[in-house]
């Protein structure tokens, strides 16, 4: 009987501590260094940070979690900001960087001062920092994989790309093309740049449509799905499966179509709440847990069955969001360790 009690206690301890000796972080201070706040995604990111870290401070998980945004999206300004945060004596800096390379000097200084630096979204290459990166390539590939499942017969696809010359655009597009190469029943018959904006996408799609054969699907990069739908509707064509990007207008349109004729698609993007994931990762590192340097942001994917729930949580003009918890961070870390 006694050994059962002992094992039970040990098991409980393991569950409570995640199997690792965890140090107290209630006296630790974490700062968010953000380079830009000029669009709805970044605004939502800052609000997510506020609500989650505010609760964490109230609960005594950490002593402080202040957000700092540079006035202009400039590398030198953010480098100065990081140096100031070092001076302020923060224990960890969570960073959305203006440049993957230009901040390395400042980040190294922070590391040398014994500060934990966790970069996310806009990650830095300095080896002493942690990186929570977005696998944009996988995101593009996932779109094609979904279509392959939904349309086993394949067909012609229209690709809407983002802003030309931007790294993200290249990555997502590369993923889409990789997916199409693996699923030869699909064929990309046209490609336009929608600049992640619905008005640009609408114009671009309206321009290319007359030259296209029948299309069964539209692969997108987010922000462009609603514009594509409007252009296709105006051309009087059958509505293909348009992959959405979690924007409010896209989800609203999808919901209308779903109610009217049972339209089916999926929507995928990165939740602005990823800042809160970075916060919990920083907290885990401060508590002495072993965290791999390279982590991957999970996608926020919306499917037919959870559309209503996500639409209700998305504010008008904004993008679907989710707030991460310490458990989410732990599972992301566990996933990275398993790889």
């Amino acid at each position: 009987m006694k050994w059962i009690n002992v094992t039970l206690a040990a098991a409980l301890l393991a569950v409570a501590g995640g199997g690792v000796a965890v140090a107290d972080t209630s006296d630790k201070r974490i700062a968010l260094s953000n380079n830009y706040a000029g669009n709805s995604w970044r605004q939502a990111m800052l609000r997510s940070w506020e609500s989650v870290t505010g609760q964490a401070v109230t609960d005594g998980v950490v002593a402080a979690a202040d957000a700092f945004t540079t006035a202009e999206n400039q590398v030198t300004e953010q480098a100065a900001q990081i140096q100031n945060l070092i001076l302020e004596g923060y224990d960890a800096i969570v960073l959305n960087a203006a440049s993957p390379e230009g901040l390395n000097g400042a980040v190294k200084e922070a590391c040398d001062a014994g500060i934990t630096v966790v970069s996310f979204d806009g990650v830095v290459t300095e080896p002493c920092a942690w990186r929570i990166a977005v696998d944009f390539k996988q995101m593009g590939k996932d779109e094609v994989l979904y279509l392959a499942e939904k349309l086993p017969d394949g067909g012609n696809l229209l690709e809407i790309r983002g802003l030309a010359g931007v790294f993200v655009d290249d990555e997502i597009s590369a993923g889409i093309h990789e997916g199409v190469a693996e699923n030869p029943q699909f064929n990309i018959v046209g490609s336009v740049h929608g600049d992640w904006a619905q008005d640009v996408a609408q114009k671009a799609v309206a321009g290319i449509l007359p030259s296209l054969p029948d299309i069964v699907g539209v692969v997108t990069q987010g922000g462009d799905g609603y514009g594509a739908a409007q252009a296709i509707k105006a051309a009087g064509r059958d509505m293909p499966v348009i992959i959405m990007g979690n924007r409010h207008d896209e989800l609203t349109w999808w919901k209308e179509q779903k109610d009217a004729n049972g339209y089916e698609t999926m929507s995928v993007s990165i939740a602005p709440g990823v800042s809160t994931l970075a916060f919990w990762v920083a907290q885990m590192i401060l508590s002495g847990q072993d965290v791999p340097k390279d982590l991957t942001v999970p996608f926020l994917r919306i499917d037919q069955d959870n559309l209503e729930e996500n639409l209700a949580n998305t504010e008008a003009g904004g993008v679907a969001n989710t707030l991460y918890s310490a458990e989410d961070a732990a599972s992301v870390v566990a996933e990275a360790k398993a790889m």
Partner: protein
Amino acid sequence: MSEGAPSTTLLGRGYAWSTSPRVLRSLLPAFSLAVILIAIFYLQPRAMSPIGMKLLFNLAVPIALATIAQMFVLAVNDLDLSIGAYVGFVVAVGSTMLSGGLAGLPLLEGLIPDPAPWIFTTPLAGIVVLAAAIGVYALLGAVIQLRNLPSIVVTLGMSFIWAGLAVLVLPTPGGSAPTWLRGLMTLQVPIVPFPIVALIVIGLVVHLLLMRSAYGAVIRGSGGNPRSVARAGWSLVRVKMAAFGLAGLFGVLSGLALLGLTTAGDANIAVRYTLLSIAGAILGGSEFVGGRVSPIGAVIGAATLTLANSFLTFLRLNPDWQIGAQGAILIIVLALRVLISRGEVRN
């Protein structure tokens, strides 16, 4: 600027310390720097340590060098709107060709035989390109003087060319600073932090160069009264070339200092430097016309601007207000200067 050439004549009033408003004027930049520094120490006592001072003044070094570059152009009555893009270009060249030679260029990746012969890996390529860039600056001075072109238009055009070249050299952020440069910028000096030593040295060297040498007086004089300088037998074209060439040289130094601090390049890293350098020079007592400049003031002005930024961060000011607050600091200092200048006129 205490001994800056007055706008009316070059040789007339000479170096007058006599009137107290002039002394006040020359002390104003140092005074503003002291006020902001004390405010920072009050808000964040941790800054009052060697490491703290190092962090505070680190990024002031490249800005001070860019401000000096701008000041040379101001000295001959011109304005350089391309210095920010130019510094970005220097950073791009420095992080590629200066550390890895031609082989360091992402543009030529795969085109160079492996193992690359020394001609492709020698940092000499970077030195040649940077020297050529300084040459282009000197040439700009000649063109502006000979064709009587507005410098604002010429340098605005050049800013796009520099920015384009920078992106060509370094299309995506990357590269790495030469080791010697990184070593220099992270130099450990006993007692006084390196950035402060560097700032003092920059200020003094340029002061000697521009304020104490005969040719320096000619450069400033050509801004104050070009006609009399020409009558005295000096070639105005050469004077402009010298001033712009010096601006190009200090632009290179600024880019290299910045690269040493960041350790890796980004073509768009110094976009703000154009306006910062103008603001720093003016804050330090230079004027837009009349060849009235002050090297030591310019260094102090650049340091003040850098500290003003830190001060606002320590204040926890909402970022939406920060640009405005920076502007307010500038306006306050300039308003003080106007007040003092009025006193000067009355005297």
